[in-house]
Symmetry: C2
């Protein structure tokens, strides 16, 4: 197979010139660059990425795997990592798994064999043993946003429990005692911790005198629509008086169905969201939500990854929690008590 | 340097097993996989991606370069390409340039030397000669959404002129004769064609009896805020009666400022957007907008790229335009004529 010298000879330049051109540390005149490119194609020369990086004298590419890049939350997270990578002079290779476990595994293989200097991994479903095993085999990896059980690597999440607590306490303070929690599953830290914090926040104000219904599911617009339909299909006096939609997507689907059904927010039902990445402040009405520090999440993830020296896998994995904040807008009001309220509906 | 046989010997498995494990076509028991990974690390073995692909018997990775992945429009575009790649059994490597020309050039180098089988390139600024030259040196590339002048490759855009025409005609039909066009620059096809179509659409209804003001700039929330501030700072009777914000980001920034200033949409000013990727249907009021076929754009881009055989660079570049549609909601109404209208303000 052709080597660097063959390319240099064919292009009529020095080996060093080809090397520096390939590693991007040298800008050449159009003509020279074209000669080298032609030689590379003619000889089917394959630069060795590892050697290329050595010639750069430093590592230069980080990989980031996310579930669904078209979700504003993940898109913003990726943008933050990209901005931080840019500041650090690093390239960032992104891979979107569409939350498919098979695609996650094949991208993990691609990253392992692709000479990335480290991986930031984000999933949006409960992880598997196989997933954790592949992550543990990487020299440097940080898990962000959602846990992968069994992955012995540093983990960075937003404080989901605190976020749930803020939402529960906010609704209870407004007088709500019968509320609906939408989204997540107990197998995922986001679902389990948001729900736990939500119950604690309600109890902190309402004591035992409250009732929390729950609809489990993914953080998608469709799941939000389904939750909205099951809500509007109920007799008004049997409905919860407030809904906690635990992602922007769930909130959007829910708001669509409530609007179509003519259920007014907050007069007929109070609504509170989670993420606050989308333009909730422009919604009708502006929606109160727990805001995730999504940009900090991205910046922290890359800094934490770069801080790993990769030589101490024995060190127990750390878990870092970033604070969330409640952004109060116009979608939460005191509940309107129905005259026809049927006490049995509270059982 | 260690080769495949060295790794197989060290791991105590066959060369074929290591090869199939590395190309992802073979799932191994944990223990065997760990042995191979350990051998790879111990010997610092670098699989040759080109050879790996040959062993797969088919190409397997496409690259996609976009300006800013945190913008819902680009995020949705990327999601569509990813979904199509997934259907085709291809891996997709994503690179976000933050719209920095320097970063675009270095990612183009990374893609050229990184064995991707083709590139879908998206920029969000007027291209440079150097950018076009690097694109023309790639064996397979498709330019999407925004043109790169001088790039002799297939190009796929939404029909920007048609979109501008639909917006102009819609506002003129509602009775608007003094309107504001926000966003874009003439050096970019999106800006030039949307503005041209907008003027044609207005003229189709209003003839010469109309006036179009224009604020040029990037498709960002900040630019939208700036345009909004310059609008609300004007004496009401001198303001245009309708605004065409030519991206979701511009629209969001504009709506924020109008809301803060208490300028009611559509009673005091009509607003129409472009993109319609964000949840404009939930805004107060729901915003009328020209919808881009962003998912089709992504799907088409990948299909077009895969259809290139890369052996016929002489073929002149094709330009494919995808239809856009106007989604009428509640943000456009007939203009309210001011009693104090000063005719000079129309000069």
């Amino acid at each position: 197979m052709a080597n660097l010298q063959d390319v240099a000879t064919a292009a009529g330049v020095s080996k060093a010139t080809v090397s520096r051109y390939l590693n991007g540390s040298l800008e050449l005149p159009e003509r020279t660059a074209s000669l080298i490119d032609a030689a590379i194609r003619a000889l089917d020369y394959t630069p060795n990425p590892h050697a290329r990086r050595l010639s750069l004298g430093r590592s230069d590419t980080i990989a980031l795997i996310v579930p669904d890049i078209s979700s504003p939350f993940f898109a913003t997270l990726v943008g933050a990592v990209e901005a931080e990578a840019s500041e650090q002079g690093l390239a960032l290779a992104l891979y979107a798994t569409l939350n498919s476990p098979a695609r996650e595994l094949s991208y993990l293989d691609l990253v392992r064999t692709g000479h990335a200097d480290g991986l930031i991994f984000v999933t949006n479903h409960a992880g598997t043993r196989e997933l954790a095993a592949k992550i543990n085999r990487l020299p440097r990896c940080v898990v962000v946003d959602e846990d992968v059980l069994g992955a012995d690597v540093p983990k960075i999440f937003c404080d989901n429990r605190q976020g749930g607590w803020l939402a529960g306490q906010h609704l209870a303070q407004a007088g709500h005692r019968h509320v609906l929690f939408v989204g997540g599953v107990d197998e995922m830290v986001s679902g389990a911790r948001r729900h736990q914090g939500f119950a604690e926040g309600m109890a902190a104000i309402a004591g035992a005198h409250h009732r929390i219904e729950r609809i489990r599911g993914p953080y998608t617009i469709d799941a939000g629509r389904a939750a909205g339909r099951s809500f509007v299909d109920r007799a008004p006096h049997t409905r919860p008086t407030a809904i906690f939609a635990t992602s922007d997507e769930l909130l959007i689907g829910l708001c669509e169905v409530l609007a179509e059904a003519g259920v007014a927010i907050p007069h007929q039902v109070s609504v509170i969201g989670f993420d606050d990445v989308g333009p909730l402040h422009l919604f009708a009405p502006a929606v109160t939500a727990v805001r995730q520090p999504v940009r900090d999440l991205g910046r922290h993830a890359l800094r934490r990854l770069l801080a790993m020296d990769g030589t101490d896998p024995a060190k127990p994995p750390s878990e870092e929690l970033l604070d969330v904040t409640l952004i109060a807008r116009n979608s939460v009001a005191p509940p309107i008590r129905s005259f026809h309220r049927n006490p049995n509906s509270e059982e």
